[in-house]
């Protein structure tokens, strides 16, 4: 087994080239997503632990977001705001700070592809790849 954080090139028979080890922690990604979305939502998604560090609220993965993201996109259209861009950029920035790049398109956010926060986190995990220095 590889130690956490270790980067090593592996090969897999189905893919004719080498790819990288990924050690992205889903709890870290969940905190990134909650920290961004909590700015736009009615529900609180982030609380502080006893040390004053922010963490997701219990059950955050199950919270539904699809309709809310559509509403925010509609508000952007009506008032000329840029909230969907900031949500997307905020998530991409947060995961980049963890050392990974992910694929997240505006259409995926707006078209209801992610029913819950957990679905969004799962997609970010699956589409992640480590950024090389």
């Amino acid at each position: 087994l590889l130690a956490a954080g270790e980067v090593r090139a592996l090969s897999f028979s189905a893919y004719p080239y080498q790819t990288l080890m990924a050690n992205l922690n889903p709890d870290d990604v969940l905190l990134v997503v909650c920290s961004v979305l909590t700015r736009f939502g009615d529900e609180k998604l982030v609380i502080e632990d006893e040390n004053g560090r922010e963490k997701p609220v219990p059950g955050a993965s199950e919270i539904k977001i699809a309709r809310e993201l559509r509403t925010i996109a509609a508000n952007d259209e009506r008032d000329g705001a840029h909230s969907i861009s900031f949500i997307r950029e905020g998530i991409l920035d947060g995961v980049e700070q963890l050392g990974y790049s992910v694929i997240l398109s505006p259409s995926q956010l707006i078209n209801g592809e992610f029913e819950t926060i957990g679905h969004l986190v799962e997609h970010l995990m699956a589409s992640s790849s480590e950024i090389l220095a």
Binding site: L10, F12, S13, A14, Y15, P16, Y17, A22, N23, L24, C34, S35, L37, T38, R39, F40, G41, D42, E43, K44, E48, E54, G59, I63, K64, I65, E68, T71, I72, N75, D79, G80, H82, S83, I84, S85, F86, R88, E89, L92, D93, E96, S101, I103, S105, P106, S107, Q108, N111, G112, G118, E122, H123, M125, A126, S127, S128, S129, I131, L132
Partner: protein, 426 residues
Amino acid sequence: MNILMAVSRFLILAVLWGSVVSAAEPVQIEFRFSTIDRNPPRNFQKPGFPKLPLEIIQLDFKVAGHENKAEVRLSGGDFDPGQPSSYRLIVTEKGKAPREIPILAVDPRGPHVRAGRAAEILLLPKELPKQTQGAEFKIELAHTLTFDLPTQSEVQIPPNTFALDAKALETNRKYTAPLSTENKIEVLNGTGGGQASLHYHVRQNQIKTGDWLHVDLDVKADVSLASDDKHRYFDSIVAEFDAFRAYNFGRGSADEQGHAEFGLASRFESDRDFANMNVTAGLAYQVYFKNRVTTGLHHLVAKDELGVAPLFVFAYDYVGHISQSDETPDTGDQRLRAGFYWSLPLFREVRVPFLDVADGDFLIAAEALYDVEQGILTDNTKLTLDLRQHTEKKDGWSYNVTYARGRATPTYKNFDALLFGIKKWF
């Protein structure tokens, strides 16, 4: 002997169980358009490949009952998911014959790769048509795909064709293409010279680095070159310039916090006859304000939904009427606008006639407009009771009753109405 019989019965049961599970766990493949506008994969960075933003096609495997996609393994066989030649992208543009666009590179992503598992694969097409309206996109798989599931069962998907949603491509371009400059002049078909359109869009986007200013300039002009219309030249022209600052306020865990945008928005617009030409310039402040009151009300009914925090909008617009037709009523040059938008959840999963199980919301959209010179205050208020079929799918019905009052543009006549609506989501 008894032991041998017991073992053989167990093996038979295990095989039967595996088959049943296989039938109950169909693998779904979804192809969709996505965009990469930062950190492209290494194998998407070869010389001659498109530059950022990269328009890609995302291939996504889903297995019912296995939310963790990393549990699904593409077992290879004749189909090699890592080879561009395994996929054919066929595009049919409006009024043109179908054509194949080469796939330049393939990239499997994520922690699934470590265990030899595949969940998402990215395909990089050589180029995609600029005009997506009316275009059809299809992906063909040349060989059978075989998946190994965690239950030791196997699922095969025969060679197939999958359609892609062109609207997703259009949406992505709207958000990501402005990150670069696009200059386009094209002459469309027509008689006596045809039509030309010019689109110039540039965005200086500092969102990533968090700098103060973001700038967005967009100019669109449709020009008529037809001999009958030469005196008009422009069919329409719109120029828009936005400069704004966006920021978060309050700690992420605070009761009172949110996201705000403050900025300048200006716009010039004209119709084809130049009978109506306006130029507007103004300031706007928009804020999503999370607070204890609305959070508490929302949490009482729908704590498993994010909800959208109340949105407040304050704006000042200067409207310069360069020319105005006789049919348009007189309005002043300066307007103030304030808006409040919020959705209060009323109930969840309650039995309602015609909808079976339904969710209910009360939508508030209140807007006040003040014409500074005419001294006229107009309130455009819309209160909606929305009943929506509670379904896991996105294709339910919804009924709504709306009370609306105010003045409708462009006639500015008063209206006061109770409206009933039926919607079908699909």
